[in-house]
């Protein structure tokens, strides 16, 4: 078990390294491919050649790509000192480098954006798990009834409607017309009440999309589980229906749902691009889009790595959870 765990952690690290190498390669080769000099991004187009050369020296942009990557990885772990003669800049670990655009360190920027994305993802996950699973279970138990059909109809709509549509719709109706909810324009630290009120629409819009998928998944799994022999056994023991469904059937139904949930949550923590953009939430997703449009490569690289980290970590957690949920699974 411990050996397995260590092996998995090790493979996570290797995977992150590979992901960063690939990303690093793509993003730092990109300027060369389109014939620009990365140093130009730092200094602006009007700068004199001496300044450009200075930046190139300082950032190590002339080194071979693998050397640059090596320095980048070391910087992540131990911090990094950029120096060009007397011009020295200290970048503390984890050092993701500097934004081309604002010349700020990337890591503090990420730390600014991350809470926005996390609060969006975690708030939505609570809503969609409760809503989706409950809908799915009720639909399965009432299979074929009007209730089931309408729930699944709404779920189908939920799966098909893109977030920029539902998002715009709820903003137009509940924010602009009815004025029930505000826009997300305050952080939690500034004004918790205002923050919460502003987050409700993003949460609901994002959760609706996922709840729809989870309702369908839950319904299908529950129907399958209800046909299992051990459910018949549970009933044959004389257990009441709430126990049969709530304990015996739910236990099995939750396994695939938790798997998908772990992966979805991992992916979402790397940024819910469309939701963040629709609601102007300055989280990782929103910032990634902006960084891409501004060719801000260090920022893109930072966000990519953070996202990859969440996905890989979620995968690991899901695998470990399996062993807890399903006693038949042996970790080895």
């Amino acid at each position: 078990m411990l050996a397995y765990f260590i092996r998995r952690i090790f493979s996570v690290i290797v995977m992150l390294l590979v992901i960063s190498l690939v990303t690093f390669g793509i993003f730092f080769l990109f300027p060369k491919m389109i014939g620009t000099d990365p140093a130009l991004y730092f200094v602006g187009k009007q700068s004199d050649p001496i300044a450009i050369e200075g930046i190139r020296q300082k950032m190590g942009l002339d080194d071979p790509i693998l050397v640059q990557f090596g320095k980048f990885v070391v910087g992540l772990v131990a911090g990094r000192t950029y120096a060009n003669g007397p011009d020295v800049t200290q970048c503390a670990a984890p050092c993701f480098g500097y934004s081309f655009k604002t010349e700020q360190e990337v890591w503090p920027l990420l730390l600014d954006w991350l809470p926005v994305t996390l609060s969006l993802a975690l708030g939505a996950v609570v809503l969609w798990v409760i809503g989706g699973v409950a809908t799915g279970v009720i639909s399965a138990l009432k299979r074929g009834t009007v209730l089931d059909r309408s729930a699944m109809g709404i779920a189908l709509a939920g799966v098909s409607l893109p977030i920029y549509f539902t998002g715009m719709l709820v903003i137009a109706v509940f924010s602009d017309q009815l004025g029930w909810f505000g826009r997300p324009d305050a952080t939690f630290a500034e004004d918790p009440g205002r923050w919460f009120n502003g987050m409700i629409l993003p949460w609901v819009s994002l959760a609706f999309l996922y709840a729809a998928m989870y309702a369908r998944l839950t319904r299908a799994t529950m129907l399958e589980v209800l046909n299992e022999d051990y459910i018949r056994t549970a009933r044959a023991k004389g257990l009441t229906e709430p126990v049969v469904i709530g304990k015996h059937a739910m236990r099995s139904t939750m396994t695939p749902i938790l798997t998908v949930l772990g992966l979805d949550l991992g992916a979402l923590m790397g940024g819910a691009v469309l939701t963040e953009y629709t609601f102007s939430l300055h989280g990782l997703g929103y910032s990634a889009v902006r960084a891409i449009s501004e060719h801000d490569l260090p920022v893109i690289l930072g966000i990519t790595l953070i996202s990859a980290f969440f996905v890989v970590a979620a995968n690991l957690i899901v695998d470990l959870m399996y062993a807890v949920i399903d006693p038949r699974v042996r970790l080895s």
Binding site: Y230, R232, T233, K237, G238, V244, D326
Partner: protein, 372 residues
């Protein structure tokens, strides 16, 4: 439709004119289990009657789809909750257990009987036990539904039962998961679960089908011993006449959702009266048979239960379909009859065949028996 079978006679003890409370321990009267489907009405069980006393074993024999398992689920009242297949079953008839009619009883009353007075052993213990709960928890749960005891007491009871059904180191194995048991051990655990409340009626649905032959005999012995100990009535459902031959007091042979032959095990086994029973006996491998002799399979396949042929359901597969049957109308279904030959204990030997009894006795003694 579903509602009418479920609650129609809720407030009356029984409906219909022929119904008088049964004095037998278990009496099934004209049980019908029908499933409405898109293709038509599937008559899984179509008019089944039998009685069973405490301490006795009834063997129900038939091939897949003859209605034997559906019968047991009907007795358990499991048709009320959940679904078999896509549609809810429609049941009619009467099931009397210990003076109570079960089909008209309300669901909660039947639920309280399930697992306490009527318990069931299922065919495949691996799929019949929940993979995520320990064996001990599953047994203890069955005990705690019907007894107000704390977890510790229930666990002790589970260990006790595991010990009784012959599981070594029960205090350790109680915490094992079903997949950590061997097939035979799992079936023992299943039996422990069924017996945890000392049920008066035990239904074993193909309890040995999923097991190795060597383990089969052990499990059958165990069920027999436990029956003696607990004095329960046992319904043993199987497609294998060999399994019930020595265990059952009475045998009931089902074909196409109906009983085609019923009598004491001895009579049915040694003087079978229905061509289908002959077929079952002929298809049984026996060690004392010459190796050069082939098994005699029952030709053809079981009837579709949607369109059961009019007349005798076995007719299309019956090797004696062409034997002249006097002035019998072929499209009439043969009824169960018993010649006036009650045994010493008053038991009678029923069969449903258009051929005369004399003709069948002749065919059995002259043509079939010598080949077996």
């Amino acid at each position: 439709m579903t509602e009418s079978t479920k609650t129609g006679a809720l407030n009356q003890p029984f409906t219909g004119t022929s119904s008088a409370p049964s004095t037998a321990f278990l009496e099934v009267r004209d049980l019908k289990v029908h499933f409405p489907t898109e293709d038509g009405l599937v008559k899984s069980v179509d008019g089944l009657s039998f009685t069973l006393e405490k301490g006795k074993t009834l063997g129900i024999v038939g091939e897949s789809g003859s209605g034997k398992s559906v019968t047991s689920l009907g007795i358990m009242g499991l048709h009320r909750v959940g679904q078999y297949g896509r549609q809810r079953a429609r049941l009619s008839g009467e099931i009397w257990l210990d003076g109570k009619e079960l089909l008209s009883a309300d669901e909660d009353e039947v639920r309280r009987l399930r697992g306490r007075e009527i318990a069931m052993i299922f065919q495949d213990p691996l799929s019949a036990m929940h993979p995520y709960f320990t064996v001990g928890k599953q047994i203890a749960e069955a005990y705690r539904v019907h007894n107000k005891v704390d977890k510790k007491t229930a666990r002790k009871r589970a260990v006790e039962l595991l010990d009784r059904v012959g599981i070594p180191e029960p205090h350790k194995r109680v915490d094992s998961y079903p997949h950590e048991f061997s097939g035979g051990m799992r079936q023992r655990a299943m039996i422990a679960m069924a017996l945890v409340n000392n049920p008066e009626l035990l239904i074993a649905d193909e309890p040995t089908t999923a097991l190795d032959v060597t383990v089969q005999a052990q499990i059958l012995d165990l069920i027999r011993d436990l029956q003696k100990e607990f004095g329960s009535a046992v319904i043993m459902i199987t497609h294998d006449l060999g399994v019930v031959a020595e265990m059952a007091d009475e045998l009931l042979v089902m074909y196409g959702g109906r009983c085609v032959e019923r009598g004491t095990a001895e009579k049915v086994f040694y003087e079978p009266r229905h061509p289908y029973t002959w077929g079952l006996l002929g298809s049984m491998p026996r060690i004392d048979r010459e190796q050069t002799e082939r098994l005699i399979p029952v030709k053809g396949s079981p009837p579709s239960l949607i369109n059961i042929p009019s007349g005798c359901a076995f007719n299309p597969r019956c090797p004696y379909a062409d034997v002249p049957k006097g002035n019998v109308t072929r499209t009439v279904r043969p009824e169960l009859t018993a010649p006036d030959d009650a045994g010493q204990d008053g038991s009678r030997h029923w069969s449903a065949c258009h051929m005369s009894q004399e003709e069948r006795t002749r065919i059995w003694t002259e043509e079939i028996a010598p080949k077996l």
